[in-house]
Symmetry: none
Subunit: 256 residues, 2 copies
């Protein structure tokens, strides 16, 4: 039996929007500490990890571990049936063949209930090692999105170089070439300011199509963290205040 009530329903909507393009079906693993999801994207190139801590909900109740196989696309459809400032409650009972969604508006004079059929999903549960990275860049999520969007007009892929001076995004294409350099900590605004935690310079190349996809999570956080080591998958993390995170992993393109 799971019961989880989320005051800020828009949060769940945004989270599902942030992953639905990449993952069509996935297991939501629920236990008393919260709800987690881990899944390879449809083309088995990227990996998505999501955590919603129990204390994000009020109340939160989960008697025993449950793995809810959810069609993300259908879940997203049902979530659109709730208004942004509705409270959302999700419930699953013991037999676990369906998920109940309840929307309540602020004044409490409207209640909507939806039932989502659950499915059996083979979980390719990859253990993700908690690595330490050579470079950890924290920057404005909007700026990261803008950079990915701009550079994708030039090329399919971007090379990210991290040095003490800053982080440089480069793309080369038919109509020309472009690079964008962000210096560390120049901005005064704390949230917007870029910080670079550098153990070692690194240079990696990634598919812009995937990065652009990751930036669907931009509405969830004002900043994003890019963690890199040479020849190791990039970690792109959006921390959601007091709630949890959405993380994306993407392997670098290998130099030929």
């Amino acid at each position: 039996m799971l019961e989880a009530r989320l005051q800020q329903g828009s949060l769940l909507k945004k989270i599902i929007e942030a992953i639905k393009e990449l993952v069509t079906d996935a297991n939501f693993d629920c236990n008393d500490s919260g709800i987690a999801l881990q899944a390879m994207d449809n083309s088995h190139v990227a990996l998505v990890a999501l955590l919603l801590r129990a204390n994000a909900f009020e109340p939160y109740r989960c008697d025993r571990n449950l793995s809810l196989g959810i069609s993300i696309a259908n879940f997203a459809k049902l979530l659109k049936c709730g208004a942004n400032d509705d409270t959302i409650t999700i419930e699953a009972d013991e037999n676990g063949d369906s998920l109940n969604l309840t929307f309540e508006n602020e004044t409490g004079d409207r209640t909507s209930q939806f039932e989502l059929k659950l499915m059996d999903i083979d979980s390719d549960h990859l253990g993700i090692p908690e690595t330490s990275y050579d470079a950890v860049v924290k920057m404005s999520s909007a700026e990261f999105q803008r950079i990915c969007r701009d550079l994708s007009t030039l090329s399919e892929s971007v090379t990210i170089d991290c040095t003490k001076e800053g982080v440089k995004f480069q793309a080369v294409g038919d109509l020309g070439a472009g690079n964008i350099t962000i210096k560390q900590g120049a901005s005064i605004d704390q949230e917007e300011s870029t910080t670079i935690d550098l153990q070692q310079n690194c240079s990696l190349t990634f598919s812009l199509k995937y990065l652009l996809n990751f930036t669907k999570a931009t509405p969830l956080a004002s900043s994003v963290t890019l963690s890199m080591s040479n020849e190791v998958p990039l970690l792109v993390e959006y921390k959601i205040n007091e709630v949890g995170f959405v993380r994306y992993y993407l392997a670098p393109k290998i130099e030929e």
Copy 2:
């Protein structure tokens, strides 16, 4: 060697937006007095002339005359990679096979560089005679845009009549007919006020498709000047404060 730095980058973006629909490739002629462009539109019906004076830039440096063959479409793409309040620097070196674009944000913690490949373009350099016109109408650019937009729902072409009383725009089409008359000096606001400098009444008919295209320059100036003489191409001019102008020329339709 050309180096030109424009504080208000949005200006260049707007200028290119104002001409890109008409002209896909054109030579930018640079000398020590500034940057100029003259080109027939793709269908060789209209003519576009652009001037950016050297003093619009700070600094401006152009050692020797250069003719930069630019794909306007690609230039526009790269310009979109800069934010509106970025400073833009354009540079071209001696061999002139590429143009460098640099964007810097206000705080200076982000620098973006883009390289645009140049091309060889045959310039059909038409000398434009500095005529004196029978009627010169200065009016609100927004109002002119609105008139063109409204009348193009009625017809393909508009007839403009200038008399002492004012300027009348007429269109006749299948669903009916319409005309809009602007009287001289009706508005109090100086910039918005319409003035008509009339030597002789005139009446000319133009393609609305082209006029509508010219009004892409509306964001560049609050007023527009229409200069007309019977059976002579119309001159539509947007003066850009302290910077230069965008001019469009369009031959009238001939009465059958």
